[in-house]
């Protein structure tokens, strides 16, 4: 949470960053976790120390958490409704070709 209302500290809280790590070349960046840092440079360094202590990555992205838009959890049903009942979008829907080679 980057904007707490508590008055316990005179220091400005550091913003929250989401960290994405590419584990090896050829793979996409995957969300690893989050951390606090004052700016992107520090966020990258902290992410390196926090999420790649054991060679877990060859590349890191950091993204300000508040720059991420996400789907509304309350409307998950209707938002993801469209693909439901459309099994014909999967190869497994087509059973008649079973046993036919290279299909």
């Amino acid at each position: 949470m980057s904007n707490p209302t508590e008055t316990h500290s005179k220091e400005t809280p550091w913003p929250l960053w989401e960290v994405f790590v590419r584990s090896s070349r050829g793979l996409s960046h995957v969300h690893a976790g989050s951390l606090h840092a004052p700016d992107a440079v520090m966020a990258l360094r902290n992410a390196r120390d926090l999420y790649t202590r054991r060679n877990e990555g060859v590349s890191i992205w950091v993204v300000p958490a508040d720059a991420i838009s996400s789907s509304d959890p309350d409307s998950k049903g209707s938002f993801f409704e469209s693909p439901q009942g459309k099994d014909y979008r999967h190869a497994t829907y087509y059973t008649k070709s079973e046993g036919v080679k290279h299909l």
């Binding site: 508590e6 316990h8 220091e11 550091w14 976790g33 989050s34 700016d39 520090m42 120390d49 996400s70």
Partner: protein, 331 residues
């Protein structure tokens, strides 16, 4: 994703709000019944949120305070190799604390507030870290017994119903097994060393055995929150169950070490098929939790000092970030 919305329930709810609460509860119950995972922006009962926030933040504090007994030995490690290993381990504990603070934050508490609560003595952490690490052998006993007990406790937590907590635990458990093995190796080397070294290893095991068993928490009949935590799929096994399993593992491993457990009552109960141990001093456990352990004051003072000593670094970093942002804006 760490999106946080702390939704406090108002004293009086409008009909629509009541309806939303009912729907939320039904959704939550279904997720739990399916043994699926709750994510940060899902509706959850306030008690679930509070229980998790307490557990996860205490867990984070334990990792941070847990750096101290071992950091204390970095400058006196017997070899460069051991020093490097110990530094890596203490760095891991810091990392584990940060993973867990991130998870706790998703429940609606700011990081700074949690840090401040720890420094102000308002937050609890594991009682084990209020015992002193008096010899090098304690580095072995802490790794083998304390991290061993932690792993035993934490592996089932990887399946905790709260997604961010489970994910943090997966990462932690992967890293923790190195901690236990390096501790075992320290003890094994001492045990195969001179008689004095072997005695030092045995003394350390004697010191840490009972406190490690108490890490699993009070006995089941004196652990009021356990039942609810199990119903919510946060906890998967009871304190006594995990403790018994741990004792069984240690009985095997202590033989390989050529040492003994300081407990003549350890036995396998053929009827219950469970390992049993001798009585533990739960009054001591309560005293240590209440702040009367041998190192409580020292641990808190050190944490406070470290936080204050780091203030200029945090300020400088923030000032630099502000200046850079200004420059970028001007350019």
């Amino acid at each position: 994703m760490a999106s946080q919305n702390l939704q406090s329930v108002p004293a009086e709810l409008s009909p629509e709000e009541q309806e939303r609460e009912r729907a939320g509860q039904a959704y939550f119950d279904r997720i739990i019944a399916e043994d699926s995972r709750i994510e940060p922006r899902d509706w959850m009962p306030e008690a679930y949120r509070k229980t998790l926030l307490r557990q996860v933040s205490q867990h984070a504090h334990s990792e941070i305070i847990g750096m101290q007994p071992e950091a204390n030995w970095i400058s006196r490690a017997p070899s460069l190799k051991r020093k490097a290993i110990l530094m890596a381990k203490v760095q891991d504990e810091a990392g584990h604390g940060l993973y867990l603070y991130s998870a706790a934050e998703t429940l609606g508490q700011s990081r700074d507030k949690m840090m401040q609560d720890l420094i102000d003595g308002k937050a609890r952490y594991s009682s084990i870290f209020n015992y002193p690490a008096v010899t090098w052998a304690d580095m072995g006993a802490i790794g083998w017994l304390v991290d061993g007990a932690a792993i035993c406790n934490q592996v089932p937590l990887c399946r905790a119903s709260y997604g961010p907590y489970g994910r943090a635990m997966v990462r932690i458990c992967k890293e923790e097994s190195f901690h236990q093995r390096q501790g075992f190796e320290i003890l094994l080397e001492l045990s195969n060393g001179t008689p004095a070294q072997k005695q030092m290893a045995q003394d350390a095991v004697n010191r840490w055995y009972a406190p490690a068993l108490m890490m699993f928490g009070p006995p089941d009949d004196d652990s009021p929150n356990s039942k609810q935590s199990m119903a919510w799929n946060i906890k998967r096994f009871s304190n006594d169950e995990l403790r018994s399993r741990f004792v069984g593992m240690m009985v095997e491993q202590v033989r390989v070490l050529g040492l003994t457990l300081p407990d003549p009552d350890v036995r396998f109960n053929e009827e219950t098929k469970k390992w049993e141990h001798g009585p533990l001093d739960w009054n001591e456990f309560k005293d240590v939790l209440a702040g009367k352990g041998p190192c409580n004051a020292q641990r808190m003072e050190r944490r406070r000092q470290a936080h204050e000593d780091g203030a200029w670094v945090r300020e400088a970093a923030a000032a630099y970030a502000a200046k850079q942002a200004q420059k970028e804006h001007a350019a």
